[in-house]
């Protein structure tokens, strides 16, 4: 945490992108205040209005205000992706740490499961899982968690294997430290920076996958405002009402770029190699 705060002061790029990320989050939180209309309120007589002063982003096929939907969409998309990254991070890391630290049969079982997961193409498996569970944002998050945790597990495991042999861990074991204590106090803090960097850099990619699932109809369901879903809804009017695809697409694009840059800068700030 201290390094992050120090980074904010010394690394301008990091400070700038952090502000952008905060702005995005703020937009999502403040959507009800910023939105000029209710995002699900359908005034059908006003369908397909092009962008104008009244409706800055135009209106969609049911006459709903596109700007309000994009703003509210930030809530669904951001909370979805943050939930996803958090679950993947927690599940993956803890599996990896347990597997790496205890070794033996535990390791074998966890790693073979993870091998199995890796042997399927990720998105296809996610579609299959989401298809079986039925379409909803939570199910899409679940499906992507199931296919994405292995990356974190493998990373965490390899790092634990390295740290496990370091003197301070051995010393802790000799001193009679309980496994849980050792994991929590000696091992986790040492792998955490790398894991956080990985997670931060992943936000953009996972956001795309989540939007992809929604686009295909396995994520958010109508009438929820969600960017991937809005893209799909606009697809039918690509030629006659292009604004229905342009604005949600821009929203995804900007968000992914901001999170990717932030992830990169966070790595610069946190990377232990630079510290040494």
């Amino acid at each position: 945490m201290e390094t992050v705060i120090k980074g904010l002061r010394t690394n301008r790029a990091f400070a700038f992108t952090t502000v952008l990320v905060l702005l995005l989050l703020l937009t999502a939180v403040a959507a009800p205040i910023l939105s000029p209309y209710d995002p699900t309120e359908a005034t059908m007589r006003n369908a397909y209005l092009p962008p104008s002063a009244e409706h800055l982003f135009g209106t969609d096929k049911l006459g709903r205000d596109c700007l309000s939907r994009v703003l509210y969409g930030a809530r669904a998309s951001l909370s979805g992706v943050l939930l996803l990254v958090t679950t993947v991070f927690i599940v993956g890391t803890s599996m990896g740490v347990v597997s790496g630290y205890f070794g033996g049969k535990v390791d074998m079982v966890i790693m073979r499961i993870s091998d199995m997961m890796i042997s399927f193409p990720g998105m296809i498996l996610a579609i299959a899982v989401a298809g079986i569970l039925g379409g909803s944002l939570v199910n899409a998050v679940l499906a992507l968690t199931i296919v994405s945790w292995t990356k974190y597990a493998r990373l965490a495991r390899s790092m634990v294997l390295k740290i496990k042999r370091r003197d301070f861990v051995e010393a802790a074991v000799v001193n009679g430290g309980k496994p849980l204590h050792i994991l929590w106090v000696h091992i986790l803090p040492n792998i955490l920076p790398i894991m956080v960097i990985t997670a931060a850099a992943d936000i953009g990619a996972l956001m795309m996958e989540l939007a992809g699932l929604s686009f295909l109809g396995f994520g958010s369901q109508p009438p929820a405002p969600e960017w991937g879903l809005m893209l799909n809804e606009g697809r039918q009017q690509l030629q006659t009402a292009p604004w229905l695809m342009v604005f949600p697409g821009l929203a995804i694009f900007i968000t992914v770029v901001v999170f990717n840059l932030w992830g990169d800068n966070l790595r610069d700030v946190l990377d232990p190699r630079q510290e040494e």
């Binding site: 699900t40 059908m44 397909y48 096929k61 009438p223 039918q236 006659t240």
Partner: protein, 524 residues
């Protein structure tokens, strides 16, 4: 080794350039339709060409492969096709049908009454839908004369024989995989290669009814309406079926495209499951639902006036009283709210949805997205119903499971875009969805709807030969449906076929299964 690198790099460059040229050349290509190959972008639901399976016969006919004894003209009159003429006997049961002497199958076999008989019998043996059309007492064949005796009087028998279910196949050929190769039929084209994704048809060298204009017809399945429109704009296909309502304006350049559009025989409707224990069992709730929906706006604004606003079950393209029938449940939100309150539904927990006994009024609405207007109607329903406090849960399902869900009544609303007069008049359609289903006697009615008066009219209609009386019965039946709020008719679509000006004769018919015909020709 180094040389090989150079060679492959050069090859890659050439490939890239060819690709670039291919992408850029769209403009010049457009005008020149290859004179012997037609490319036709369609929607397709059939993974087999077995005409008796599901509704796959439609595809057999749409692709110019199969023909029936009878054909509908543009006004839905029954006209000769493989049959030359027909008449009914004095007993009102025996139909004498004369088979055209010229008709031959694509393998050169002559179509005799005997083969026609076997073909019709085959349909009855393989499809349980056949008997919902008519029931046969006896079929006999003598030379070119086919005699069909029905169990009960069937006034519209010729029209029924025009349904693709009764495509005439060559029963002498037994070693064929109907699903992949298709049957041997009499149409202008034959199957060269078929899959759900793409069909290649070739000219039938033995076609009996004139010259076949194209050597090859490629029929790619492009289910997405937007992609289909773009493929036509780009010149990748020469004609396309059903351009989405909103996209028709893209094709109004008369020198490049020709739009053939007519009011179809279809209704887009949602069957309402009114079985005991369902929320829609209460007539007041059905009425409330219907009057909460601003159907006029759906059709005029959302669908850009390419649909006529729904009311009675039979579309205005058919003369069955559209103008005299009044829908008692037109858009009226106040009435809708009042009806809900009368039925005991009130919003007591303040969540915006009305509830009774602690449960919200929730309706499951099953739809599929193969047709562009269906999701739109579904979502519009959801949005409008919400305004009076009815929660509509949308369930997007695959078309293949839709039929089963409807038969079992596993939802509250189920959408269909259905042809209302596949036999030339709406009798079969009126029976399917709304005639009482007793222990599976009418499996298509899974909604639980039952009205003895309606059934009585249906029974009278079944044996009535007088057109004026038939018309009156059908009007009365529609009135019962309207008064019972038995079903939700969203609208009646126009249907279209858009072709490049490089070809002529691409006309759409009210009956939805004459797509690729011998009349689709290269422009001179």
């Amino acid at each position: 080794m180094k040389k090989m690198w150079k060679v492959s790099a050069a090859a890659a460059m050439i490939g890239l350039m060819a690709l670039a040229a291919g992408c850029g050349g769209g403009e010049e290509k457009k005008a020149a339709v290859a004179k012997d190959t037609l490319k036709f972008g369609v929607t397709n639901f059939a993974d087999s060409l077995e005409p008796t399976d599901n509704y796959f016969g439609w595809v057999v006919m749409r692709y110019g492969l199969g023909e029936c004894l009878v054909k509908f003209d543009e006004k839905m009159n029954s006209t000769p096709w493989l049959a030359e003429s027909w008449k009914i006997g004095d007993d009102k049961l025996t139909w004498t049908i004369k088979i055209n002497d010229k008709a031959v199958f694509s393998n050169g076999d002559k179509l005799t009454a005997q083969i026609a008989k076997e073909s019709i019998e085959r349909t009855f043996a393989k499809s349980d839908r056949a008997k919902t059309f008519f029931e046969v007492d006896e079929i006999t064949a003598d030379g070119q004369v086919l005699t069909i005796k029905t169990k009960r009087p069937v006034p519209t028998l010729p029209g029924m024989l025009a349904d693709p279910l009764f495509i005439i196949v060559n029963t002498k050929v037994t070693d064929r995989d109907y699903a992949k190769q298709g049957p041997i039929c009499t149409g202008p084209y034959m199957v060269k290669d078929y899959s759900k994704a793409k069909a290649v048809m070739v000219a039938n060298p033995n076609y009996w009814d004139g010259a076949v204009p194209f050597k090859t017809v490629e029929i790619p399945t492009i289910d997405d309406p937007n992609t289909r429109a773009m493929a036509l704009q780009k010149g990748e296909i020469d004609m396309a079926i059903n351009i989405a309502p909103g996209d028709l304006t893209l094709f109004d350049k008369k020198d490049k495209f020709y739009i053939s559009s007519i009011a179809s025989l279809r209704s887009v409707l949602a069957r309402l499951t009114s079985a005991e224990g369902r929320p829609l069992h209460d007539k007041r709730v059905r009425e409330a639902l219907l009057s909460s929906l601003d159907r006029e706006t759906y059709n005029k604004v959302l669908l850009k006036d390419t649909f006529t606003t729904g009311g009675p079950a039979v579309p205005p393209s058919l003369d069955y009283g559209f103008d005299e029938l009044k829908d008692p449940n037109t858009y009226n939100m106040e009435r809708s709210k009042k009806l809900l309150a009368e039925a005991g539904w009130k919003d007591t927990d303040g969540d915006g949805y009305v509830d009774k006994d602690g449960k919200n009024l929730e309706l499951d609405f099953v739809f599929y997205s193969g047709r562009a207007e269906l999701p739109l109607y579904a979502e519009a329903t959801q949005a409008d119903a919400k305004k009076v406090g009815i929660k509509v849960n949308l369930k997007n399902v695959d078309y293949n499971v839709l039929d089963g869900i409807g038969k079992r009544g596993e939802c509250d609303l189920i959408i269909s875009n259905i042809i209302t007069a596949n036999t030339g008049d709406p009798e079969v359609y009126m029976n399917w969805y709304w005639k009482t289903n007793v222990n599976g006697s009418n499996p298509q009615n899974g909604s639980g709807y039952s009205n003895p008066e309606y059934d009585a009219l249906s029974d009278k209609l079944a044996v009535e030969f007088d057109p004026a009386k038939r018309r009156q019965y059908i009007i009365d039946m529609q009135r019962i449906l309207l008064d019972d709020a038995a079903t939700l008719i969203f609208g009646y679509p126009q249907t279209n076929m858009v072709s490049s000006t490089g070809i002529t004769g691409a006309e759409i018919f009210p009956a939805d299964y004459y797509w690729l015909t011998k009349d689709v020709k290269p422009a001179k």
